[in-house]
């Protein structure tokens, strides 16, 4: 899907991107790969949306949330597996991490099945757990004797050698204990000069001297030295055995590389899918139907706005829009015209991303470009006025290749004189209507644009005048709430007798403009 930054911002692309952000590194990689692959073709998008809708129907929302939480905790084993594959030595921390990976896969599987997911859709790397099982009594990892009897023997032999060294040390210590007045218990011990001013007993070696102390060790005789030499040899043998077992474990892990890589890829897919499922659970979603000549939404929700309104305790009204080719949308101020345009772009964006659009039904062309014209501010990057900026955007939209595109025009030419502005808009609508593969939705307050350009005219139902009169001016928040309650946001074909005007004066009163000013405006308007 091609949409420049301005358009993307208008149609909720950032919101959608945030909502689809995976919780795991695997998911982020999968999402990045999907983004790099470009937009889905119609068949793939439909298939993807159908799969998500099926999954959303199968999964319990709370359970799906728990599965996402479980996904977040899965450590990434790929770096470790790559090192094992390359023949690099792995350490016990690596095996611990791989064990965590195996545990985390189990946790994801449990959460997934609890949520109602099918077990055969789960990633599998059970061999990792099996390989490491002898070293895992709980969540930790130890290069346990159970991995290899030779390792167990090496540890036993070293323990025996240690015992012999300790026995020799005890023998030497006891031999000098009477002379020293104490039995040296540690490898190194201190003799305080004040307590032993004279020569040290035979068998004591000074390691370091200070004016107050002498740090000493026992002088080893031949049996003690032999015991230590033997112990040191056993230590080296144990170290070699430990490394051998680690190498074998690393080889076993390397042999599971394909399964681990596949499991990781599946985790990424699950993560991305669960993000989409979460959206469907929140806002609903349908499987889109593709048609070249229709952009028809039934009870569709512009999710970013719905979320924002919900945050303020207000309710979004799902919209149905029947847009075939090019249509002009008119209606009162604050009636949701811009939001209706944004909704069309958002739906196209969802479908391109394989997200079931939040609607009861959607039929649309396989949109590849969305362009938003108008409704903007000064272009500070290119130093263009608001008018210049939207003219340039219109120029660019018309110059773009005629592949399936959605052009959203929001109050184009509103910042210039109304006569010339209306003329420019009619000409733009005619040009858009003449383009192949283009759906265009044009919101405006200019009168007679649809009729002049001979395109469909849609209308926001709005508020009955009597209802508007009944809303008191006062607290802005209360006024907006009352207005939203009274407003009929439905978009319907405008009949020939559709009332002109934008309710601007009545709305200005409700929004708190001084009463005298509003009254004067009414007088001027009625003239």
């Amino acid at each position: 899907m091609i949409a420049d930054a301005f358009t993307a911002e208008r149609i909720g692309a950032a919101w959608l991107r945030a909502a689809l952000t995976p919780v795991s590194d695997f998911g982020r990689r999968a999402e990045d790969a999907a983004t790099a692959a470009g937009p889905l073709d119609a068949a793939s998008a439909r298939e993807r949306c159908a799969a998500i809708v099926r999954l959303a129907a199968a999964l319990d929302p709370d359970g799906a949330g728990r599965a996402r939480v479980a996904l977040r905790t899965v450590p990434d084993p790929l770096a470790i597996v790559s090192r094992a594959r390359a023949g690099d030595p792995l350490g016990d921390v690596d095996f611990y991490e791989l064990g965590r990976f195996a545990d985390a896969l189990d946790a994801v599987a449990h959460a997934w099945v609890q949520a109602g997911g099918a077990a055969d859709e789960l990633p599998v790397a059970s061999a990792v757990g099996t390989v490491l099982a002898p070293g895992r009594s709980g969540a930790g990892f130890y290069l346990a004797d159970a991995f290899d009897p030779v390792l167990a023997d090496a540890r036993t032999t070293m323990a025996e050698a240690d015992t012999r060294v300790e026995r020799e040390r005890t023998r030497l210590a006891e031999a000098i204990a009477e002379e020293l007045g104490f039995v040296p218990a540690a490898e190194e011990f201190v003799i305080v000069r004040e307590q032993h001013a004279g020569p040290l007993p035979h068998g004591v070696r000074v390691v370091r001297e200070t004016p107050a102390y002498r740090l000493c060790t026992l002088e080893r005789d031949m049996p003690a030295l032999l015991a230590e030499t033997e112990r040191d040899g056993e230590r080296r043998l144990l170290a070699a055995e430990e490394e051998r077992v680690r190498r074998e474990l690393a080889d076993a892990i390397a042999r599971e590389r394909e399964a681990i890589v596949a499991a990781v890829a599946r985790l990424g897919e699950l993560d991305c899918a669960l993000a989409r499922v979460a959206l469907v659970h929140r806002f609903g979603g349908c499987v889109p139907t593709f048609a070249d000549d229709a952009f028809v939404l039934t009870e569709a929700t512009f999710a970013p706005l719905a979320e924002a309104l919900a945050g303020e305790g207000r309710t979004y009204t799902p919209l149905s829009i029947d847009l075939r080719g090019t249509a002009v949308l008119t209606g009162p101020n604050m009636g949701g015209k811009s939001a209706a345009l944004a909704l069309c772009g958002f739906v196209a964006l969802c479908v391109a991303a394989g997200v079931p659009p939040p609607a009861r039904a959607v039929t649309l062309p396989p949109i590849r470009r969305v362009a938003w014209i108008g409704g903007g501010d000064v272009d500070r990057v290119r130093l263009l006025s608001a008018f210049a900026a939207e003219v340039v955007r219109a120029r660019d939209a018309l110059a773009a290749p005629e592949f399936p595109a959605l052009v959203l025009v929001d109050e184009y030419a509103r910042t210039t004189g109304p006569r010339e502005g209306r003329a420019l808009l009619i000409a733009l609508v005619e040009a858009l209507a003449a383009r192949a593969h283009t759906s265009a939705f044009v919101a405006t307050h200019f009168d007679g644009v649809a009729e002049a350009a001979r395109v469909a005219h849609l209308w926001v139902s709005g508020v009955a005048p009597a209802a508007l009169d009944g809303i008191a001016a006062g607290d802005l928040s209360d006024a907006l709430g009352a207005l939203a309650s009274a407003m009929d946001y439905r978009i319907v074909p405008a009949g020939p007798d559709v009332a002109a005007g934008s309710d601007a004066i009545a709305l200005a009163r409700i929004l708190g403009l001084p009463a005298a000013l509003v009254a004067r405006a009414s007088v001027i308007y009625e003239r």
């Binding site: 921390v93 201190v190 004040e194 004016p211 107050a212 144990l238 430990e242 490394e243």
Partner: protein
């Protein structure tokens, strides 16, 4: 004798942090003496360091340092790069990331002598110590550093201050330095009931310039974040503490001192030193090598 130091250190039922008043004042000797006393009594413990430690030689001056011997059953928190390959440790958990890799919580299955190191940030220090305590369900000993002890402020940890001949040329000077340090570290926590409702809160360090200004003003209560924010030494701090009530938001708990008479200029009198430091600090003081207590 070292059993008495251990009993005092563990009396709070909290981790024990050993810090030195200067380099080469016997901090690691005191740390190891506490551990040896725990070993003798069969007390299981966990250990870690604030900052890198356990190297064969001091990183700054190259002098030999005592190695850290970890007995079987002990739990150690150390950075990943320092995890010895043999004999293997039992890896229990991973923690915060440090310059030397993630912090690893591991249990020694066989006795091992190795280098230990600490977590990278104040927050990680606290988290590491708390996790270590939960894992070992016993005593926790931390080879500390005076410049990183702020991370512990507000906790229940028991701090043992090691001091010795390397910090001063005479018994009197070593005792004065120890007394000054302990007085600052023991700065009481601010209590609105006792200290009044509207103290002067100092966001950064309480330094000499600020101290002069406070001395020129009315007596009041001054509150710093923690005792390590008091960047005053000697008589200036004593003067200030007499004029204003110096308090902190997060207090430290110093429970004992140790002394080492060795210094670059020769040895001090061990008995005189242990007594002088005890007098200057008002804390139980031990020479863990000579078996002295005052």
């Amino acid at each position: 004798m070292n059993g008495a130091l251990l009993a005092i250190a563990l009396a709070r039922g909290a981790p024990v942090i050993v810090v030195g008043s200067a380099k080469n004042v016997g901090k690691t000797v005191a740390f190891n003496a506490l551990r040896a006393a725990a070993d003798e009594r069969g007390i299981a413990y966990g250990l870690t360091s604030i900052g890198r430690d356990g190297e064969p030689a001091d990183a700054l001056d190259g002098r030999d340092k005592p190695r850290v011997r970890i007995p079987p059953g002990s739990i150690v928190a150390l950075p990943e790069e320092l995890v010895p390959r043999s004999p293997a440790l039992e890896i229990l958990e991973l923690g915060e990331r440090s310059a030397l890799g993630r912090m690893v919580f591991a249990r020694a299955r066989l006795a091992i002598t190795c280098e230990i190191g600490g977590p990278p940030s104040a927050r990680a220090v606290r988290a590491t110590i708390d996790r270590l305590r939960a894992l070992c369900a016993g005593a926790v000993f931390v080879d500390g550093a005076i410049d990183r002890v702020a991370a512990l402020a507000g906790g229940a940890d028991a701090i043992v201050v090691a001091t010795g001949g390397a910090s001063g040329a005479t018994v009197e000077r070593v005792a004065e330095i120890a007394g000054d340090l302990v007085a600052r570290l023991q700065t009481p926590a601010y209590d609105p009931q006792r200290d009044g409702p509207a103290p002067l809160r100092i966001a950064g360090a309480l330094d000499a310039r600020l101290a002069e200004a406070l001395l020129a003003g009315e007596p009041q209560t001054v509150v710093v974040a923690d005792p390590t924010r008091i960047a005053l030494r000697g008589r200036l701090f004593a003067r200030l503490a007499r004029h204003v009530a110096v308090r902190c938001e997060r207090a430290l708990h110093v429970v004992a001192c140790t002394t080492s008479p060795d210094g670059p200029g020769g040895g001090l009198d061990p008995v005189a030193l242990v007594r002088a430091v005890a007098r200057a600090t008002g804390l139980p003081t031990f020479d863990v090598l000579a078996g002295l207590r005052a």
